[in-house]
Chain length 520, copies 2
């Protein structure tokens, strides 16, 4: 089906995507300017965020890009199975957390766990996800003027040739961006009905879970477990180490982590840390999860198990034709220009391994595009801002207090609540999203910390649990990471929008001018 | 009562404030180091945000500050009657908006307007506001080491002398920061029972309003009307001009304003623009508001009227002793160092007139403090970030599109939804706070616009309706206002935390490198 210059509306795109996803449209959907032939500056194999953003920038730079995607839409797993549903569920978790905690108070009625259905939310998402998908196709074909083939498998032939939609396309460079999927752990029982990962949970859930085990200890585990529990469903996390203790970029401040984990305990999320799943049992369907804990073996009944056990790269579409170098976990290795071990072959996105973050996917794609177009461009992601959801939004950037104390002689912190006060002794911090808690359950409002190197007066780390600060942390990360960074005095001279979800500007102002900075 | 070095706990402060506010403690509460005498580098007359922040910075700079406050707590009207309750009500408005719009769907039950009580929320606020008050006193006495007298009227004697708590205090400089209050319009009936302003609404409401008229057309009117309506109470705004059309800094982009006002119409807020109240009628209690509209006279029945009719300064505590120069509206005029027309007398905070924003209050106080301590310091507030609430958070900084087009030859915009799409045709933008709407009522998710001068590639204006972006706009304002500003390419090279409430980084990235920038 040729849609080039057809000017499909959002509604038409949506219908086409829905039909393709239901198998009613099986032919490739092509948006190619055939008058320009079949040769491109670059072919992006995979139309997720890396490929789509890479193609957009290559096009901006005057190049000709082709994006090939097996699904009937561009944008990849994010809007289909990952970040978009995750954000929908996390917003639901936040709302349900309030509905439970405030049941019978204010306008909140009694909390009915039967009314809060995991299945209903998944079905809502499935029924409406072609809306965002349609926007991606509409924008890509129109505003971004990207050529693409969707709803077609691509076969990589060599470093300059790809087959798709019965045609042969050639290019000066290939960008591999076929993404990743859950790495299924070598535990008996993972193929039982009722065992899901984040993708099959979205695609296949057809019953209401009543007892849940989440296997894993990092973001995805914490996020989904918090959502499941917020619906009123008993949920236990089984984590090999301490929850959220993974090293590498994205490590959390100790106090931030403590507030987050304590908050999950307060909400009756079952936490089995330092525990290993030995098997998942059941006849055809999962019935229980057997676990070795520090206190001995445990058997946890469950009719739903989520595997949040890390990822592995989708290398199958290209690895035979292009045996690019990979790391010990199988992820494709690239240099800072996104070049693989094979000349003219680049890789981007989740293929590169953790952290699997949107900005990394997009920026690796655009970095590849710039280098292909002759603009020298590097992308480093050692120092990144990060976030996760529980029933809170949790965001951090820069150094944890512990890291700062290891790096600098004189570290001061600004904390709300301050260390002197017990949880709930003050309703602060409060802002949008935590005001009602501040006036009803003050121990639930949040926590924030600003870490300062007192000698240079530079802010070196910012940490926040609450609501409404995630957007700001993008810019805070930029400000503390730029050459010279930002001092507590410069921060204190900004114009806050009071009550601001992060209190950093106002509190920095209280300390600005102080010759010998002290903690507060 | 001398509390100096008493180390009062949060609970003790809270009890003391509650007792004082109930009239059970009538004596002044003093936190003064008497060993240092009664002379100070500066006395701040008024302990709101201007005085408290000014005193903190003066103390940081090594000076000795005294704060005098008639209420039993520092922090002023914000935590007592203004921004804090406003934020509580605006969060309630957001939650109630969802509860109404999604009634009978997901876990939301039918919406019962009787369950949503304005009175109950005001009572909740009144019963708990001493929590934040206690934090301000605890922090001021402890972490900030500020000397103060609260729960005592101050009498200004001359430019270096103030009486309070039966004592005479002298200082090298005075900082006047006694705040502002509602300017009651010259309309018959404003003294009837049932007619309130934002302060008396908090202090005196003792019944559940059933029909509401809000008089005024700017932020306070819009914010309170949106809250009242969200509780299910019929509410009409009567505005002399078009809603939110006030000039000066803080003017809104046309599209931003349209989305906001349309959103209020969608929620059945009655809007009478270009209309003048001629009288408020009733025997002892308000019964109706008589209005001259463009279509002739109207009578609107009401048992509750909110006057949101602008402010006037509280000059009474000092004006006889210190007849400082004032503007046509009575507000105190200062130079960029916060100096009044009388030597050694400074003014700060709401006394300076609109915009009455927290950052202006705090920064004017700290600017005065710095100059008093001999550090030359200026504060200009011509170009400010701004926000308001409806059931949304509405934030903006820099130029509106119209202003940008007047200033630059080649202006491009990045908009979500783009101008080509009708409301609801796409669920974008979506992020925390708008995800559920995106999947149920997509026309309600929000609107955002980034205005770019294509020639310099600089971002010159940012505009957002939705949730979760307010915090970020503090930093966006800094970035676009700093010398050199920020280009769309620099913005596109930042690391977004996806899904981010503002889409500016991701969309800028899609355009980064484009030689001739185009709108999207």
């Amino acid at each position: 089906m040729d849609v080039h210059r057809a000017g499909l509306t959002m509604a038409q795109w949506r219908q086409l995507i829905d039909e393709a996803y239901r198998g009613q449209v099986t032919e490739p959907i092509t948006n190619i300017d055939d008058s320009r032939g079949s040769h491109f500056d670059a072919i992006f194999v995979g139309g997720g965020s890396a490929g789509r953003f890479g193609a957009a920038v290559l096009r901006s730079l005057g190049g000709r890009a082709l994006v090939l995607e097996r699904w009937p839409f561009l944008g990849g797993s994010c809007p289909h199975q990952a970040c978009v549903p995750h954000h929908l569920f996390s917003e639901a978790a936040k709302e349900l957390d309030q509905a439970q905690a405030l049941a019978g108070r204010l306008w909140y009625g009694e909390f009915d766990p039967k009314a809060a259905s995991i299945l209903e939310l998944v079905e809502l998402f499935r029924s409406q996800r072609s809306g965002p998908h349609a926007h991606m196709n509409w924008q890509s074909a129109g505003q971004l003027d990207i050529e693409f083939v969707v709803n077609a498998e691509a076969t990589v032939v060599d470093a300059s040739t790809v087959h798709a939609a019965g045609r042969t396309f050639t290019a000066g460079a290939l960008v591999l961006c076929t993404g990743a999927r859950t790495a299924i752990p070598p535990v008996p029982g993972t193929s039982l009905a009722g065992v899901f990962d984040y993708a099959s949970f979205i695609e296949n859930l057809n019953y209401e879970p009543s007892r849940i085990v989440v296997i894993g200890g990092s973001k995805i585990a914490v996020e989904y477990a918090s959502f499941y529990r917020a619906t009123g469903t008993p949920t236990t996390i089984v984590s090999r180490g301490a929850l959220l203790s993974t090293g590498g970029p994205g490590r959390m401040d100790d106090d931030l982590r403590r507030f987050v984990v304590d908050g999950m305990r307060l909400r009756d999320v079952g936490l089995l840390e330092h525990s290993t799943v030995t098997r998942i049992t059941g006849e055809h369907r999962v019935e229980a999860v057997e676990v070795t804990t520090l206190d001995g073996p445990r058997r946890i009944e469950a009719d739903f198990v989520l595997l949040a056990t890390g990822e592995q790269p989708n290398v199958e579409p290209f690895i035979d034709a292009l045996p690019v170098a990979r790391d010990a976990d199988g992820f494709v290795t690239v240099d800072s220009r996104m070049r693989t071990s094979i000349p003219h072959v680049y890789a981007a996105g989740d293929l590169l391994g953790p952290p699997l973050e949107m900005f990394k996917s997009r920026r690796s794609g655009t970095t590849a595009a710039r280098n292909i177009m002759g603009t020298d461009s590097e992308f480093h992601y050692a120092d990144i801002p990060d976030f996760l959801h529980t029933t809170y939004e949790v965001t951090w950037a820069g150094l944890s207090e512990r890291e700062a104390r290891a790096a600098f002689d004189d570290v001061v912190t600004i904390q709300v609540p301050p260390p002197e006060l017990a949880p709930g002794e003050t309703p602060l911090p409060m802002a949008e999203g935590s005001m009602i808690y501040g006036f009803t359950l003050p121990e639930r409002t949040g926590f924030q910390k600003c870490v300062v190197d007192a000698r240079s007066r530079r802010v070196v780390g910012v940490h926040h649990v609450g609501y409404g600060a995630k957007d700001a942390f993008q810019y805070l990360h930029y400000l503390i990471s730029r050459p010279g960074g930002i001092t507590v005095d410069e921060l204190g001279d900004m114009n806050e929008l009071y009550i601001s979800p992060d209190y950093f500007i106002g509190y920095a102002r209280l300390r600005s001018g102080q010759a010998e900075l002290t903690s507060m």
